[in-house]
């Protein structure tokens, strides 16, 4: 929250500085609408930020100023001298307040009402800007111009190239070992420097997402709505500048979703929906784009209402009705439009989708709407990856090299592997990779490059594009590299198969392939596989078991761990493991993680590490080697006592121990310390097979519940969770949530929850605790 406040202060201060010229200009020409708009947007933004930063004074001032300015914009009031003065006094006061917040000083509140009163029509009084100038405290961070970062980045690349050239030239002759050592040191420093400089430009999109939960909560609470927010893909990295540009649009869209999209609880009940609205915000990288998706399950866009609004503001109805449905949705981008009748504190009036779209387009992005009336709205923002660092795989075809975004590659297999079969259907080749059949695209054929000699057999990269997957045959897979990809010139991009160009350390330009573009050029058609995106979630295939990762543990036993808990598997150097501060710890990506193990860690040069993630907790678990992904049967034999093993499962006739994630986290995770005593107590009763303890408990604990399997004397559970098969009688006093094994409910009166439905479970628990019933 502190970060947010700091950011708000820095931003407001910056805007104010930029605005001071506009203010003077507006004072001279009050009828100049461009200046008016700039000031209006400023107070609007301040008002919005105050809403979720909980700054009521600023909120009141900015709201009052916004009201007046809106009247001026609408032509209801003339911007006379008194009004201009009053608005400027408010803007000044906002500046003073911001400085006061920053330095922690207090500013007397009694002037505020006078300032607001002065905004009213017909007031002659000129409000006086008051108070001693607040002291500015020393800033703890520096805000940099992105241009400067750009120059730094390009200077850095030049430096790398110069170093490479120097190394190349030195290699040609006999060189003094001392010079070689110096060059080595230079190389290392340059490498580190480059990483740092690169990082200055990149930021996890989490910087954008982290403020959302609070904002959504407050916004929804302000409207007496209940909204469940689901965030995904926070660790996608995005250019810092893009993050800045995306901030306001994202806030606007989410506010709109909650305010206009998601209905009030009673309306939702009437429409047969869950009382809690669902809002999902996700980010992912796809080819050369970052896609940010904001989906809600509200009422969607009411195009009739949009048209009515526009007609009311003087547009030609005939003309509006003539356009296609899709174009009608696009009307939401018309300036000065609010699809809600009354102006609210939350999403304001008119500063909205038109501004959002302008901001996105300014960075070369685009915005798409997918609205289903009564079901929800999905807004997809595509922004280019320009300047983003992409982790890429370098492949070779003939004598040439190309980069492919790692994100797009599912796996790489050799053509000679037993699991691969290549057939020719008609004149088309298809590959079958472990029972998955997919089209095969030969990169050398597609690009018209002569195939190189390959004695080890060619490689197939399984590439996924938005609609399906295909296998891309290449001669060799060379390397993986972090690349700065930039758009190539139109003459190159028009081929449709490249995502951009990059300059790797070799100093020779390389092209990055666009996987979707290649599929298109190769004429692949996935349309039959494409699924209606909005139905996807509802119709997810019922899992026939729990996916798990099978591995060989350090002590030689074969064990399995639920796949959902594994963030990734990584190779680490033996040197990165240390016994420190009472336990083994490992250094990965510049972070120290607790390391759990069953077996000896000493004397290993390299080891594989499972990175287990559960909410904010992260623990690593040392293993010998990862084997395969398997489906665990639902019947498991629970372990006799708590420990590293949760139970036994029968996998292909073999008894496999299942790692107890809960135990690993309980035993090894560094304590975050948020298990407060006031967390609602959840009793898991009748959990005969240990399933709920193993799998549901971590989920509940992440969600803020305190979970027990037996009550201590005097404790009363806030909610009880039992399997469907029957509840112990003594728990009847507390609200009960029952879990069923089948996916479908057995009838209208079946109020149990499918046990893999995480969101549904949390939702049901909340609802029961609040005394409601689930529909």
């Amino acid at each position: 929250m502190d970060d947010l406040l700091q950011e708000f202060i820095a931003e407001t201060r910056e805007t104010l500085e930029a605005l001071s010229g506009e203010i003077v200009a507006w004072e001279a020409h009050p009828e100049d609408s461009a200046r008016l708009d700039a000031i209006f947007r400023f107070v609007h933004t301040v008002k919005g930020s105050c809403g979720f930063l909980d700054l009521p004074r600023l909120g009141r001032l900015s709201h009052a100023a916004e009201d007046v300015l809106a009247q001026v914009r609408a032509g209801d009031r003339a911007p006379d001298r008194a009004l201009v003065n009053a608005v400027l006094s408010v803007v000044d006061r906002i500046g003073e307040l911001v400085e006061a917040i920053e330095s922690g000083a207090s500013l007397e509140a009694n002037g505020d009402e006078l300032l607001i009163a002065a905004l009213a029509e017909g007031t002659q009084e000129v409000a006086q800007a008051s108070g001693p100038a607040a002291q500015r405290s020393a800033a703890r961070s520096v805000r940099l111009n992105v241009d400067l970062l750009d120059r730094m980045m390009s200077g850095m690349s030049d430096m790398v190239l110069a170093r490479n050239e120097l190394a190349r030239r030195l290699r040609n002759g006999d060189i003094d070992p001392a010079i070689e050592a110096a060059l080595e040191r230079l190389s290392m420093t340059v490498g580190e420097m480059r990483d740092t400089v690169t990082r200055t430009r990149m930021q996890k999109i989490d910087a954008l997402f982290s403020a959302l939960p609070r904002m959504v909560r407050d916004t929804a609470a302000g409207l007496s709505k209940s909204v469940m927010l689901h965030i995904d893909g926070s660790d996608v990295e995005l250019d810092r500048e893009m993050i800045e540009v995306m901030r306001d649009p994202l806030v606007h869209i989410i506010r709109n979703s909650i305010d206009h999209g998601i209905e009030a609880p009673q309306q939702r009940r009437a429409a047969g929906k869950r009382e809690n609205g669902r809002l999902s915000v996700s980010a992912r990288q796809s080819g050369n784009q970052i896609i940010v998706e904001i989906a809600d399950d509200g009422r969607g866009i009411d195009t009739e209402k949009l048209i009515a609004k526009l007609v009311a503001s003087g547009r030609d109805e005939q003309q509006l009705r003539r356009v296609s449905d899709r174009a009608k949705l696009g009307l939401i981008f018309e300036p000065g439009l609010s699809s809600k009748d009354e102006v609210t504190e939350v999403s304001g009036r008119g500063v909205g989708m038109d501004v959002v779209r302008a901001a996105i387009e300014q960075i070369g992005g685009r915005i798409e709407l997918d609205s289903v009336a009564g079901k929800g709205l999905r807004i997809t923002i595509h922004v280019p990856l320009t300047l983003s660092i992409i982790s890429a795989i370098v492949v070779g075809v003939g004598s040439q090299r190309f980069a492919i975004s790692r994100q797009a590659i599912e796996e790489i297999v050799t053509e000679r592997s037993d699991a691969i079969r290549i057939d020719t259907l008609g004149s088309t080749r298809i590959a079958t990779v472990r029972d998955r059949r997919m089209p095969l695209v030969d990169l050398s054929g597609l690009l018209g490059i002569e195939q190189g000699q390959s004695d080890g057999g060619r490689m197939l990269a399984i590439v996924s594009v938005s609609d399906g997957s295909y296998a891309l045959a290449v001669d060799t897979v060379l390397d993986n590299e972090e690349l700065v990809v930039k758009p190539a010139s139109p003459a190159v991009m028009s081929t449709g198969v490249y995502a951009g160009q990059t300059l790797p350390d070799s100093g020779l330009p390389m092209l990055m392939l666009d996987c979707a573009g290649m599929a298109h050029v190769a004429g692949l058609d996935f349309s039959r596989e494409a699924v209606e995106a909005f139905e996807e979630e509802a119709q997810a295939v019922e899992p026939s078991g729990l996916p798990a990762l099978l591995f060989v543990d350090l002590d030689g036993a074969r064990r399995a761990v639920p796949l959902a808990a594994v963030d990734r598997v990584e190779q680490v150097d033996g040197m990165a493991v240390r016994y420190a501060a009472g336990r083994f710890r490992v250094t990965i990506d510049g972070r120290i993680l607790p390391l759990a193990a069953q077996g000896a860690l000493d004397g290993r040069e390299r080891l594989s590490v499972l990175r287990l993630k559960d909410g904010d907790n992260e623990v690593s678990y040392a293993i010998d080697e990862a084997l395969d992904i398997i489906l665990l049967p639902e019947d498991m034999v629970p372990a006799r006592e708590p420990g590293p093993v949760a139970g036994l499962a029968l996998v292909e006739g073999e008894q496999i121990e299942l790692l107890d994630i809960l135990w690993v986290f309980d035993e090894h995770a560094d304590r975050g310390g948020n298990d407060g005593a006031d967390a609602p107590l959840c009793l898991i009763a009748g959990d005969s097979d240990g399933w709920m303890t193993s799998f549901v408990r971590p989920l509940l604990e992440t969600a803020g519940y305190r979970v027990v399997t037996a009550l201590a004397p005097g404790e009363a559970p806030a909610v009880v969770l039992t399997p469907e098969e029957g509840a112990p009688a003594e728990t009847a006093k507390a609200p009960l949530v029952r879990l069923r094994r089948r996916r479908a409910a057995s009838g209208a009166n079946d109020d149990s929850v499918y046990r893999y439905d995480r969101a549904g479970l949390l939702c049901a628990m909340e609802a029961r605790m609040a005394g409601g019933r689930l529909n």
């Binding site: 390009s154 200077g155 690349s157 030049d158 790398v160 190239l161 040439q400 597609l446 690009l447 018209g448 490059i449 930039k486 190539a488 010139s489 139109p490 003459a491 190159v492 991009m493 028009s494 081929t495 449709g496 198969v497 490249y498 160009q501 990059t502 300059l503 100093g507 020779l508 330009p509 390389m510 092209l511 050029v521």
Partner: protein, 141 residues
């Protein structure tokens, strides 16, 4: 009003290039081919930390044979940098641009690039617009 012009040889002809269009003159190193691109695109080359698209001017002017040599003029069109291969560079001098004059008909490729003539010691030289030689541009002026 006279402007600085770079006098160069492209496709065996002497041409004048407005120096405003020229960022620098370089020798192009190794070129990465761009499969499937227009045949006027020789490939990509690194120019310090920048990647430029190398344009085969001879091919862009409709000649069958390709430019030889590695000398190139760097220009910027709509935010992208291009290296246009030239055979030879003579000098840089101020000239006055004159209209092409009545009755002179250039063939298609040259007509798109031609902007007028400048006169060097009585010799008329065609002034060209480099941007017109860059493939994939939607339109030029």
């Amino acid at each position: 009003m006279s402007n600085l012009y770079l006098i160069a040889h492209i496709a065996g002809r002497v041409v004048a290039i407005d120096s405003d269009q020229v960022e620098s003159v370089v020798d192009i190193g190794e070129v990465t081919a761009v499969p499937r691109a227009s045949r006027h695109v020789r490939g990509l080359a690194a120019l310090r930390s920048r990647v430029v698209t190398v344009v085969d001017t001879q091919s862009a002017l409709g000649h069958a044979e390709r430019s030889s040599g590695s000398r190139a003029v760097i220009t910027q069109v709509e935010g992208h940098h291009y290296a246009l291969l030239v055979d030879q560079l003579d000098d840089v001098a101020p000239f006055e641009l004159r209209p092409l004059g009545g009755g002179v008909a250039l063939d298609a490729a040259w007509r798109a690039a031609g902007r007028g003539i400048v006169e060097r010691d009585g010799e008329p030289i065609l002034a060209i617009d480099l941007a017109a030689l860059v493939p994939g541009q939607a339109s030029t002026h």
